[in-house]
Each structure stands twice: as structure tokens, then as C-alpha cells.
């Protein structure tokens, strides 16, 4: 029983953590939270199933195409839903534009793909064992993303540029950094991470359009708890969330588990609105 809770909990926690990182990467580039993060996760699974299971492509090609699809959606989000509203005085329009875009994609997927969960292909032809690939694939994906982002931010020029734009937008522009291209690149990167989350989690979550609202919510909880823009906090919070959720499932059963998770979330958030590890927010007057 315990190993089941731990393996499922950590696996799904890694998926939530990856979606949280998707939120964070978009936030760092634009100071905007986008509702499309959960939708990216959903598309990773749907595109993977479409390319590999339905269209019969080899796993590697289908994988790359799914990630490419995520990147495309990330860029579309930036161009259509983020860039136009960044200029406006009303700071909250981005909530609405990204919500609209996310809804459009979810509904389109529901109608054109299916309203029922569709099978996700088995990626590696290994026999099913105790520690099955549906559990270690998300963990592997999460580890690779964390390590990859670390390398990117610390050791590459473009990574430094991302950090600069995130830290101080105006200073970065004054230094001549191409803000718009960097933002698009950030959103493309976020798209890839989101799609990777959905692809790696496909065997567990199946290719299902309703994964989008679920991931939108559960992927945001680690962001809120770990502090905005804080990837390490997001990963820790994501894992804790996954474990807590599976434990609640076991202890109180399906319906009440989500009530319990949500109640805990809102209590923690009300106590520490900036997250457990975040910095308090100073308002400009």
C-alpha cells in the first residue's frame, strides 16, 4: 500500500512540478501567469497519442513532434494572449486573454479529438513490473528539466539573458537585450516543458482533454506554495502535493480527497499569500 502511494504520489507530483515550472518560466519572462500551462500538459499527452498511436509514427519522432507542438502553442500564447495586453494599463487583462485561449484549445480538443480518454502508447517495450515506466518516466522528465534549466541559466548566454529579463525588465532592455525575442523564446521553452510533462505522464493520465483543467489547478498549487518564479520551491511543493493527494485518496477516498487537498491549499495560501518560500510583494505607489 505504502509503495503504491509513494510511487504514484511522486510520479504525479513530478507532473505537477513540471507544470508549475511551465507557469514559472512564463511568469519570469513576462510577469504574467497564463492559464495555458495546464492545457500544454494536456496537449503533450494528446499529441503523443495522436502521432504515435493513431498515426503510427516511431516513438522518438512522435515525442519530438509533441514537444514541437508545445513550443508552437507557447509562442502562440505569447503573440496572441500576452504581448497585446502587456502594453495596456489594465494589469489583469492577461488573466482573461490566456483563459480564453486555454478554453478555445480545450474545447477544440474535446470536439475534434474525443471527449473520452484515449489510450496513450506504451513508450518502452519493457514488461510491466513493480516500478513501472509510467512512474519513472515523469520522474526522469522532471529531473532532466531541472538539471537542464540549471545548466541553461548558469552556463549559457541565453540563460543569463532570461534571468536578466526576469530580474529587471527595464534594465535588461536598457542594456540592449532583445526583450521581445527573449520573451518568445521563454514561452517556447515553457511550451516544451509543459508538453514534456503531458507526454511523460501520458501512460498514467491517458490522452484526455479534461486533463487540462485538472493540471491547470494542480499545477498551480506548487507555484502558489513554492513562491512565484521559484522553480526549486515548485518542485518540492509539487512532490509534497502529489504525495499528500495520494495519501488523502487512500485515507478518505476519492471525493473527499480533492476537498481535503483544496482546503489545505487555501488555508496555507491565506496564511502565507506569497507562498512558503516566496518574498513579500512591495507595492509601487
Amino acid at each position: 500500500m505504502v509503495e503504491s502511494i509513494v510511487s504514484t504520489g511522486v510520479a504525479i507530483g513530478c507532473i505537477y512540478a513540471l507544470i508549475a515550472i511551465t507557469y514559472n518560466v512564463m511568469f519570469s519572462a513576462s510577469r504574467v501567469f497564463s492559464f495555458t500551462a495546464g492545457t500544454l500538459g494536456m496537449l503533450g499527452g494528446v499529441l503523443g497519442s495522436l502521432f504515435i498511436a493513431r498515426m503510427g509514427m516511431p516513438v522518438a519522432i512522435g515525442f519530438l513532434l509533441a514537444l514541437a507542438g508545445g513550443a508552437v502553442l507557447g509562442i502562440v500564447t505569447e503573440i496572441v494572449a500576452v504581448r497585446p495586453v502587456l502594453k495596456s494599463l489594465d494589469q489583469h487583462l492577461y488573466v482573461l486573454s490566456t483563459l480564453a485561449l486555454a478554453l478555445m484549445i480545450q474545447q477544440f480538443t474535446a470536439i475534434e479529438w474525443s471527449t473520452e480518454p484515449q489510450p496513450f502508447p506504451r513508450l518502452f517495450d519493457i514488461a510491466r513490473g513493480g516500478f513501472d515506466q509510467q512512474f519513472w518516466l515523469p520522474m526522469l522528465a522532471c529531473t532532466l528539466v531541472i538539471v537542464g534549466l540549471e545548466l541553461l541559466y548558469r552556463h549559457t548566454l541565453i540563460g543569463h539573458a532570461f534571468l536578466a529579463v526576469a530580474e529587471d525588465n527595464f534594465a535588461a532592455r536598457a542594456l540592449g537585450l532583445p526583450e521581445r525575442s527573449l520573451r518568445m523564446a521563454s514561452f517556447a521553452l515553457a511550451g516544451v516543458i509543459g508538453a514534456l510533462a503531458g507526454f511523460a505522464g501520458g501512460e498514467m493520465l491517458l490522452a484526455f482533454f479534461a486533463n487540462a483543467p485538472m493540471l491547470t489547478f494542480y499545477g498551480f498549487v506548487p507555484v502558489a506554495l513554492g513562491g512565484m518564479g521559484n522553480n526549486r520551491g515548485a518542485v518540492v511543493a509539487g512532490l509534497l502535493l502529489g504525495l499528500f493527494q495520494q495519501a488523502a485518496n487512500f485515507l478518505v477516498g476519492g471525493i473527499f480527497a480533492s476537498v481535503v487537498v483544496f482546503t489545505m491549499f487555501i488555508i496555507v495560501l491565506l496564511a502565507r499569500p506569497e507562498g512558503l518560500a516566496g518574498a513579500t510583494f512591495q507595492r509601487r505607489v
Binding site: 503504491s4 474535446a110 471527449t115 473520452e116 506504451r122 513501472d132 491517458l206 487512500f250 471525493i255
Partner: protein, 396 residues
């Protein structure tokens, strides 16, 4: 609100009818409008999609053979999207707007619960295939008929199979959180107890939960000897079957017909997991003892092949039910015309309508038309050309 184009058309049509009173021949060629409320999209659409294939085929055939008394049947479809709100809107349009003669549907219980009272107020005869027991009431809703089994009939067959044929006394009953699922569990647990079984586990689980292992482990530690799932959600059912297989736990799974659907099969991790899975099904569309189908069913399968209708991702009985329903309605109208009271009167005396899916019969006091003895249990992995064989130990 300005008068809509539809309103204008309807009044223009009425005017045309009045002016044509002197020429009955023209009026007789008007199509017969049949309202149809399937859930073709949305979370509970698998039933609707399957039924739809049968209905469309039947209406085409009837119309190709000249219709009813020279009048073509016209299906007016309003997709409820698995949403009771849209079902109510659709029902209102079919009755007040389109003025259909009969309504078939909705196909999901949650939607029917809202629509049945509305159709009763609109004095429109209704035939629906939903299973929840409270959905027919000859006194409150004299115009509402059910051409499918009730939850009691379905559950009765399944429960009897587990307790009396498989001789398992400790049972785990699990459903998803839809109206159908929760109603089923509520109905079947007392039924099992009444049969002398011991319900060691009873639960409603969110169908989207990716991991059902804790639930099955709980069942196992409570000593369950059989698992009975009640849900039309292929994802949920497949997860139960897969988890049982992963655990290597050798207990039979007995329950909802969707356990045998093509959708569920597609989501299985290993084909062998489908062994020892016994869903409900219906005798007319199953292989009898000698491995043969009835002539009626064979003829139907041929028609489906000719019409290139796909069965692999759905269930044959859904298509068959969809096929039978307009034919039963057409039969009624051939005999007594299209007035509501006449149709209801005819149905109240219907001794036997020989459908592909089942032999339907109604009386004035019993609006549940499906016969008990045609509800059977089958073996899921005996699926061949859309039909199943009866489950082992099942009498002839």
C-alpha cells in the same frame, strides 16, 4: 426579442397547411417529425454515439421503403452534450418549437431526470433507454416508456451471477461519481445483502483518478472475492481491470456492459487482463450455446456490414437499441397514426415488439418494456464480430 426566422417559418408553414385544407394529398406527404435527444458530445457520450449509428440506419431504411403511410420520417436531433441544461432546452425546442410527434431520448439518466417532467407537461410521448429506476412512472408520467432494462433488472442479473453461479459471498461494489454510478451502488448493495452476500467494500470514486490501486488494495485486504464496477466510463473501467492485472489478483470482475466495449478494450495494458471479466449484455445479440447468433441478429450484422458501420469502438447492443427504437415508433404509427393519445394507447397494449436488441412489451401499469430473462452475463474476451458468448455457468 424579435420574432425569429424559425418562428416566421413555422407560422408560414401553418398558413400553408390551412390554405391547403382542400387538398389532403399534399398534407399527407408532410414528414413525421421524431425528436431525438442524444448526448453526442461531452463526458457521457459513448452510449449516445453508439445508439446514434443504429438510429440513423433504421430511419434510412424505413424511409427508403416508403416511410410510414407514404410519409417520410424526419429525425430532429438536438445534441444534449451530456448536459441536463441543454437537454431541457432541446426538449423545449422539440416540443414547442418543432412540434414533434414523439421524442426518443435522452440517453443519459441525469438528463432524463430533468426532461421527463417537461415532456409530460408538453403532452408528448417519450421513449427512452435510461436505466435509473425512477425514470418511469405510469401514474405520474403516463406518456413515458422505457425500451431498455431498469437498474433493478441489470443489477439483479449481475448480482445473481456473482452470488448464485460464481458462489462468491464477499463482494466489493465500486462506481464512479456520476448519477448513474451512485444510483447503481445505492440500489445494488441492499440487493446483495438481501441475497445473503457480504458487501465488504462500497465506494464512489472520481472517474478521472489515475490510480485506483489504493481502492483495489482496500478491497483485497477486506477479503473481497469479486469486484462489481458500475460505470459507463471506459477509462475508469479499464483502470480497474488493469490494476487487477498488475496486482495479479485472481478475482472475477462482474458489472456494467461497458466493461466489454471496444473503448475499454483499447485502454487495456494487456489483452489477457480481459479474462474473467463478465459484463451484462442481452441475449438476443449474444452467441447462444452452440456458438450461433439468432437469424434476426445475423441479418442485422449483415446490414451493418453493408452500411459500413463500425462496431469496434462501441457495443453492438447500443447500435441494436438505436436501430430498434425508430422501428418500434414507426410500427406504432403505421397502426394508429401520429396522435399522442393513440400512440400511447398502442404502446400500452404492446404484447411484443420483436427488436434485434430485445422483445419489448408494455402494459398500462408497466412502462418498463425489457424482459427479465433477456438480461444475461457474458464473457468479455469472447468478443467476436461485435457479439459475446454467454458467461460460463450461465444456463441456456
Amino acid at each position: 426579442m424579435a420574432i425569429t426566422r424559425r418562428q416566421a417559418l413555422v407560422s408560414a408553414g401553418a398558413a400553408a397547411l390551412v390554405s391547403g385544407l382542400g387538398k389532403p394529398a399534399i398534407a399527407a406527404k408532410e414528414p413525421i417529425l421524431i425528436g431525438y435527444l442524444p448526448a453526442l458530445t461531452g463526458p457521457s457520450s459513448s452510449t449516445g454515439v453508439g445508439i446514434n449509428r443504429g438510429i440513423q440506419l433504421a430511419v434510412q431504411e424505413i424511409n427508403a421503403a416508403g416511410g410510414v403511410d407514404g410519409r417520410q420520417l424526419e429525425l430532429i436531433t438536438r445534441d444534449t452534450q451530456s448536459d441536463p441544461t441543454k437537454a431541457v432546452n432541446g426538449a423545449a425546442e422539440l416540443t414547442h418549437g418543432q412540434k414533434v410527434s414523439v421524442v426518443f431520448g435522452p440517453v443519459n439518466s441525469g438528463e432524463s431526470l430533468a426532461v421527463v417532467p417537461l415532456l409530460a407537461r408538453a403532452n408528448t410521448p417519450q421513449i427512452h433507454p435510461c436505466w435509473v429506476d425512477t425514470l418511469t412512472d405510469p401514474k405520474k408520467y403516463p406518456m413515458c416508456f422505457r425500451n431498455a432494462p431498469t437498474n433493478q433488472q441489470i443489477g439483479g442479473a449481475a448480482n445473481r451471477y456473482v452470488v448464485e453461479v460464481l458462489k462468491r459471498k464477499k463482494v466489493a461494489v465500486i462506481s464512479d461519481t456520476t448519477g448513474y454510478g451512485t444510483a447503481s451502488v445505492n440500489a445494488y448493495v441492499p440487493m446483495l445483502k438481501g441475497m445473503g452476500a457480504d458487501v465488504v467494500y462500497q465506494g464512489n470514486v472520481d472517474a478521472a483518478n489515475p490510480d485506483l490501486k489504493p481502492e483495489l488494495l482496500r478491497m483485497q485486504s477486506a477479503g473481497a472475492e469479486a469486484i462489481m464496477p458500475w460505470s459507463v466510463n471506459a477509462g475508469f473501467l479499464s483502470r480497474i481491470i488493469n490494476t487487477r492485472g498488475q496486482m495479479g489478483w485472481d478475482v472475477p470482475i462482474v458489472g456494467q456492459t461497458t466493461l466489454g466495449s471496444g473503448q475499454t478494450q483499447a485502454l487495456l495494458e494487456k489483452p489477457d487482463y480481459w479474462a474473467k471479466v463478465y459484463p451484462n449484455n442481452f441475449r438476443p445479440v449474444c452467441y447462444a450455446a452452440g456458438g450461433k447468433l439468432s437469424d434476426r441478429t445475423n441479418a442485422f450484422l449483415d446490414r451493418l456490414k453493408n452500411a459500413k458501420i463500425d462496431m469496434r469502438d462501441t457495443l453492438l447492443w447500443w447500435i441494436a437499441l438505436g436501430y430498434d427504437s425508430p422501428r418500434m415508433i414507426a410500427e406504432a404509427m403505421k397502426n394508429v397514426g401520429t396522435e399522442p393519445e393513440q400512440i400511447v394507447g398502442y404502446l400500452n397494449k404492446l404484447k411484443e415488439f420483436p427488436g434485434v436488441y430485445g422483445d419489448i412489451a408494455f402494459t398500462a401499469d408497466k412502462h418498463d418494456g425489457y424482459p427479465d430473462n433477456e438480461v444475461v452475463m457474458v464473457e468479455a474476451n469472447s468478443l467476436k464480430d461485435g457479439a459475446f458468448s454467454l458467461a460460463p455457468g450461465y444456463g441456456a
